[in-house]
């Protein structure tokens, strides 16, 4: 298995732990990641709002880079997944395609629309598969109750993402079960984390994050896990602010998806960058630490 690796901005910057965990997990599962130092930002939904055709053109360039190497593209962020997929859909509209081609052609860039954009979550659940994954687990996360938090753009709009059920997805919960943990089902798992308005009206964004964390907690979650580093910012880096808005303690450890998988495959907390989180993951780790990792 070999992919054009699209880490996205946050995982290369303040969310570096996501990149560390992704590389660790892929190395251990034999997923080859090909680096593309030419990839640019996906626009994160903001560029789409400011200038939609520019957003499509920038992403068409990214998609063309993968296409010219004959590789499909792997994302590790729900928003990157959403924006690159959106570009593929918009390029199916002839006037959009013509406009974008007219800008890319003079740069010697051609994109014929072949690049498949797949999130690590789908690669783990559909291409590696639960059975294969189970065989590689050395530290089953038995007893740990985990609330999956999908991130909007992985699922919606469903007509464009062509995702699994946008209302009742289950791939993430299947993955959580495959590595020995217990998935927690709650309404908030498909809701918004508040991130898009974190810099517009922070208290509202914090309240939205608090609501989802409270919901996961009310359904028994010891921890949450997300395939989106932007959700991670909202749920972890700003959890203290969410607590302030909620008026009570939340104390919810939030894992990046590959951190949770890496933990089950035997990685150490340091290898997965867990000490970089704002909310300590120690309480969650204590639940699984009883199982000795075979060396």
């Amino acid at each position: 298995m070999k992919f054009a690796y699209y880490p996205g901005c946050v995982a290369q910057e303040s969310g570096k732990e996501l990149d560390m965990a992704t590389r660790w997990v892929c190395r251990h599962l034999g997923i080859e990641l090909v680096e593309f130092p030419k990839f640019s930002c996906c626009g994160s939904g903001f560029v789409d709002e400011a200038n939609s055709i520019l957003n499509v053109a920038l992403n068409a360039r990214n998609l063309a880079l993968a296409e010219s190497a004959g590789l499909d593209l792997m994302t590790i962020c729900s928003t990157c997944q959403g924006m690159l997929t959106l570009a593929n859909r918009r390029l199916e509209e002839p006037p959009v395609k013509a406009k974008v081609d007219s800008v890319l052609a003079p740069l010697g860039i051609r994109y014929s629309g072949k690049t498949k954009v797949t999130h690590l979550l789908s690669i783990l659940t559909q291409q590696v598969g639960a059975e294969q994954l189970k065989k590689r687990v050395v530290r089953p996360l038995t007893g740990l109750k985990v609330g999956a938090f999908y991130g909007c753009h992985l699922l919606r709009p469903q007509a464009e993402m062509r995702s699994e059920s946008a209302e009742e997805p289950h791939s993430f919960e299947d993955l959580i079960a495959a590595i020995g943990a217990t998935p927690v089902f709650y309404r908030g798992r498909v809701m918004c984390c508040g991130f898009p308005i974190l810099f517009v009206k922070e208290p509202t964004a914090n309240r939205i994050a608090a609501r989802q964390i409270d919901d996961a907690k009310a359904h028994g979650a010891d921890a949450m896990a997300t395939p989106c580093p932007l959700c991670h910012i909202s749920l972890d880096s700003f959890q203290n602010k969410a607590e302030h808005e909620a008026g009570h303690a939340l104390q919810m450890p939030v894992f990046h998806l590959p951190q949770l998988v890496g933990l089950a495959l035997g990685a150490t907390a340091e290898e997965l960058g867990l000490p970089r989180h704002l909310v300590s993951t120690d309480a969650a780790l204590a639940k699984v630490a009883q199982v000795a990792v075979p060396t």
Binding site: C9, V10, Q12, E13, S14, G15, K16, P37, K38, F39, S40, C41, G43, S44, G45, F46, V47, D48, E49, A50, N51, S52, I53, L54, A57, L58, R61, V103, L104, P106, L107, I109, C152, R156, P157, Q158, A166, E167, E168, R187, M191, C192, G194, P196, I197, F199, V200, K201, T204, R207, I208, R211, S237, F238, N240, K241, P275, R276, H277, L278
Partner: protein, 322 residues
């Protein structure tokens, strides 16, 4: 031949604020064919078991928009939802009133805030007194002009989007998906002469509180796709009114930001969004995060091929501030 019926358990939210201390869920089990609409089942409960069950409905054909409610956690029309699929997915059918609106009784909510938001966007053609609309004559539009409405004329104002929206739930300043989709419909109407004012006014009135989570688009029974029209409104608002708000500054700042290195300069983005005072307020949290994640303060290296990105910006964003 009659369809086979199956026992179908319902849990129905009941609450009369004038009498009850707290809401309760009443259980009913009905023998129903899988294709039975949830609305039909509720009316059967009312006629056969409990005449006090209170709900809104009218046309039973997904046209009037009266019977929106929360069915197994999702905001939708009771007349358009069949019991069989719900039973297969959930093993039961939980019926609740719409969210973000106060319960009047059982499944009936107070829709005043929803309608007020609708009125506030002035959902009628505003003409120029110096250029009045022709009287007694048609005022035709071209097919291309009609095309710009997209799916917005389909809206039946059922409020399913309003109930599904997490921004409405968290902030009373957000007008909600329906009002904004309607606003879009008037903004692109070539007969309306108040386009610029409408776009200027909506920015501080909550346009930028949309989370683009697309939950409204999934909830809409008429495929109006409100979140996509709100996106269009944002782009139109920036073009018409510039960056008067944190929201528009953030979107435009983000666009200009990644022109620099091809990837995001996180620290710079915060500076681009906030004014001096707001920026100062961010310092303690920024320090807290940067202590664990020092990369937050680092300036990223430009990507390879940054000149290609620059050329794309020059061609498609000639006015941008880079």
């Amino acid at each position: 031949m009659a369809a086979t019926t199956v026992p179908t358990p319902f849990e129905v939210y009941r609450f009369d604020p004038s009498k009850d201390k707290a809401p309760r869920y009443d259980r009913f089990t009905l023998d129903l064919a899988p294709h039975t609409p949830v609305l039909t089942a509720l009316l059967k409960i009312r006629s056969d078991s409990d005449p006090s069950l209170t709900l809104r409905y009218s046309c039973r054909s997904a046209i009037c928009g009266s019977c929106a409610m929360v069915i197994n956690s999702k905001s939708r029309l009771a007349c358009q939802t069949q019991v069989g699929a719900e039973l297969a997915k959930h093993g039961k059918i939980v019926i609740e009133p719409m969210r973000s609106q106060a319960v009047v009784r059982d499944l009936v909510v107070d829709q005043k805030p929803f309608w007020n938001r609708y009125r506030q966007i002035e959902p009628h053609l505003k003409t120029d007194p110096n250029d009045p609309m022709p009287v007694g004559k048609e005022n035709p539009m071209t097919p291309e002009q009609v095309e710009r409405f997209k799916e917005t004329p389909r809206c039946i104002a059922c409020a399913a989007c309003y109930s599904a929206c997490p921004a409405v739930e968290a902030d009373p300043e957000f007008p909600g998906p329906m009002a904004l989709a309607k606003l879009y419909r008037f903004v692109v109407d070539p007969r309306d002469k108040d386009t610029k004012n409408r776009l200027v006014r909506i920015q501080p009135e909550g346009l930028w509180l949309c989370l683009r989570c697309h939950l409204c688009t999934e909830a809409c029974p008429k495929d109006v796709r409100p979140s996509e029209r709100i996106r269009d409104l944002k782009e139109l608002a920036i073009a018409a009114a510039g960056t008067s708000e944190n929201g528009s500054r953030h979107a435009v700042g983000f666009k200009d930001n990644i022109a620099g290195a091809g990837v995001l300069n996180e620290f710079k983005l915060v500076r681009q969004t906030y004014g001096a005072m707001d920026l100062l307020r961010q310092v303690p949290q920024g320090v807290k995060i940067a202590r664990k994640k020092p990369e937050l303060l680092k300036k990223p290296h430009p990507i390879e091929g940054i000149e290609e990105v620059e050329a794309i910006y020059r061609a498609l964003d000639p006015e941008g501030d880079r």
